[in-house]
Amino acid sequence: MNPTDKDKIDLAYQRLREKAQKHAESAQRPDIAKIYIGMATCGLASGALETRHAFEETLAERNIEAVIRPVGCIGHCYAEPLVIIDRPEFPPILYHQVTPGKARMLVKSFLENGDPLFEHVLGAMEENDLIPWVMDFPRFNQEKKIVTALCGKIDPEEIYDYINENGYSALAASLYMDPNELITIIETSGLRGRGGAGFLTGKKWGLARSVEGSEKFVICNADEGDPGAYMDRTILESNPHQLLEGMAICSYAVGANKGIIYVRAEYPLAVKTVKRAIEQATDLGLLGKSILGSSYDLEISIFEGSGAFVCGEETALIQSIEGKRGMPQNRPPYPVQKGLLGRPTVINNVKTLSAVPSILEHGPEWYKEIGTVKSPGTAIFSVVGDVIHAGLVEIPMGVSLRTLIFDICGGIPNKKQFKAVQIGGPSGGCLPSDFLDTPIDFDSLTEAGAMMGSGGMVVMDEDTCMVDVARYFLDFTQKESCGKCTFCRIGTRHLLNILERMTKGEGNPEDLDVLEELSQDVKMGSLCGLGKTAPNPILTSLRYFRDEYEAHVKEKRCPACVCRKLTAYYIDLDKCARGCDACVGSCPVEAIFTTKDRKKGIDQSLCVKCGECMAACPPEYAAVRKVSPPEKAPIIERPEKSENDGQDHSG
């Protein structure tokens, strides 16, 4: 490359750094406190906006000067709203569940009087002598944040925040490199796509680059249609510039001048944040014409999808952008050969592109050192379900499921037993406890019958019925099938129907074979990834929890007592407290009656099995029981209408 180009680009970037530095200095007043409030969707949903108002009001009331900075999400969604207060003389302190009331207290006690209110502290963000450092907790020190490193630490609406963290330096350095050299770096790093299949990113870029043609596209896939998954949303809302930088590097490497971010319209905050980021980057010459004074142009725009799960599939996504029905197309041709408008197109996930700047900054060898040999780097999961500390986690690949679920996420709540973990979104697999020592990486998970998918993880405790879980996921995939190909269109409907019959006690043993064979056929025969993976929850649960299926079809029994038709509630008369009425009012259908000796019984013919009475029964009695099959419930005769009834109701 022309050396003067290098100088020009370096100079342009240097100027930006200086501006960012000045901006930070004017914004930063070392003498006053700074309050960082997590205001991504998870924070807002937990009331971060009210918390912010409470801070503002109380600061004004008390006449205290402090800066409030909205930031993104640091991943501890169970503890939102999260607030970091950086007050002179103290280390920055992280507070959890900061309600408006707590916010007022913090202003008065901490900002005004220097008492940090230890009982509400989650930890300090820096090592110090006063308050335990967050890095001493397993949740923090076992994580390895690369892609989400700055999430929750910088203001996503402020490009200078990102530039001050060395942001866009990797882009600047790339612009005077040979594109092929860039691709080699990404290839050497071993980066694999985080959108599901784990395809080698460098290889994908190389293929797109090698296709003839002057017009090429780069698309960032931010459709994120998996129910319960929100990693991509968090990144878009918390650090959009890192993604833009990654996209710009990718576009330069493959020779594209147009980038599109495909976001679902249900992510309004993400759309707004990214739009603003694109504007800021364009204003500063980091996007648009002659980026950083080089001869390279790139325009990035947003396309709002309307949120069909199947539109996350790359060929359907392209159809959707072209204004057609979001239907997957048979591959080959792959998008790198013939993508958007028939042009070579790279499609990468948000997490994939967001990892690119740090790989260039620290080098491919650094990246390869993290994670495992075949799956370098980190995995980002949204862990939900029956875990104590649900939220967003970034860990090095290769960490075991056990470590993730029990150490990092705090294990199963309510002293329940772990039963299974469902990994890889609605079409991932369910793994039992024997697999807890499986390392989390692309190949080990696939081998076990699950998959990395885009990073959804649902933890399930002992009260889960695996047949019902399979039914639940099939219900989702079946509804999301686009209807194009025979196996997925008709096959998933039959699979769902069979599972529904089983959960209602209407299945028969032959159904098990039909279920298994049809699952294999749908997996083999479907056109796109949706159909090819939809049977996974069935195939894995059949493999690992076959006894539960057998109980459903042979004994009409639901071992976890979840399937309503196969379960009955009854009241254990040895436990029921005479004269206690706690359950009576909770029953929506008045199925609970009073026995002759003033205990309670459930009229099975009325009961709708909602479980309200079980929740209402005081824990010291815990008299409400569940059994399956329902015939096992002891019969308690309802006394003939007696004067007793009326009395107890009023009592």
Binding site: N330, P332, Q478, K484, F487, I490, G491, H494, V514, L527
Partner: protein, 215 residues
């Protein structure tokens, strides 16, 4: 340029750029297929019937989307291929109203042909029959649509599009409920149907029929 390929141990020649499916059919090797038409530049590959195994490729793949390459070794009758074809056919029949005697497609119906070829009865056991409530959609001034016959192959949409430059037929709804719709057009003067009927001719299962007494 012609290339040589080997299909079921038999060497055949085909023009470069043709699909494996067409090459087989042109040489008298029948490969089941429902959604492919030669005039398609981008076959939908949706029926999943035309599966074959190709040396070097994993598992059965649809032959309507693969172009012939010199020296390709193809097998059309392996056990995995047949298993999937039978399964696909049984799925199609599980949403099909089998009433051949009353059906205009009787004897020329592609499902009957496949059923004979693949040795699958027209009323196979295993899957419950899932028929749609409405037996007939007679909204259109000149056509009747029979959802319980339709196999959603899309040939009608394709021929309509190529004949008229724009389609007067389209896929509607999603997933299991996908059907063919005529855009609800009722104005007889706005549609070229009376002189065309290409869709009725192409439909392999008589899911589109000519109205006997057009309004």
């Amino acid at each position: 340029m012609m290339v040589k390929i080997i299909v079921d141990n038999q060497e055949i020649e085909a023009e470069e750029g043709t699909t494996v499916l067409k090459a087989c059919l042109d040489n008298g090797i029948y490969v089941p297929n429902l959604c492919f038409l030669e005039s398609m530049t981008n076959p939908p590959a949706s029926c999943r019937m035309c599966l074959v195994e190709i040396e070097g490729e994993k598992g059965p793949i649809p032959s309507c989307t693969i172009e012939v390459r010199e020296g390709m070794v193809i097998r059309t009758e392996t056990a995995p291929v047949r298993r999937l074809q039978r399964s696909a056919l049984r799925l199609l029949l599980s949403v099909h109203e089998v009433d051949c005697a009353a059906c205009p497609a009787n004897k020329k119906c592609e499902l009957q042909r496949l059923s004979k070829f693949l040795k699958v009865g027209l009323k196979p056991k295993g899957f419950e029959l899932l028929l749609k409530e409405a037996k007939r959609d007679d909204e259109h001034p000149f056509l009747d649509y029979h959802p319980n016959r339709c196999i959603v192959c899309g040939k009608c949409v394709h021929v309509c599009q190529t004949t008229h430059g724009r389609p007067f037929l389209t896929f509607a709804k999603r997933g299991f409920n996908t059907t063919i719709s005529t855009f609800g057009e009722k104005d007889a003067t706005k549609i070229p149907c009376p002189t065309c009927m290409a869709c009725v001719e192409i439909c392999p299962v008589a899911a589109l029929t000519v109205k006997t007494d057009p309004q």
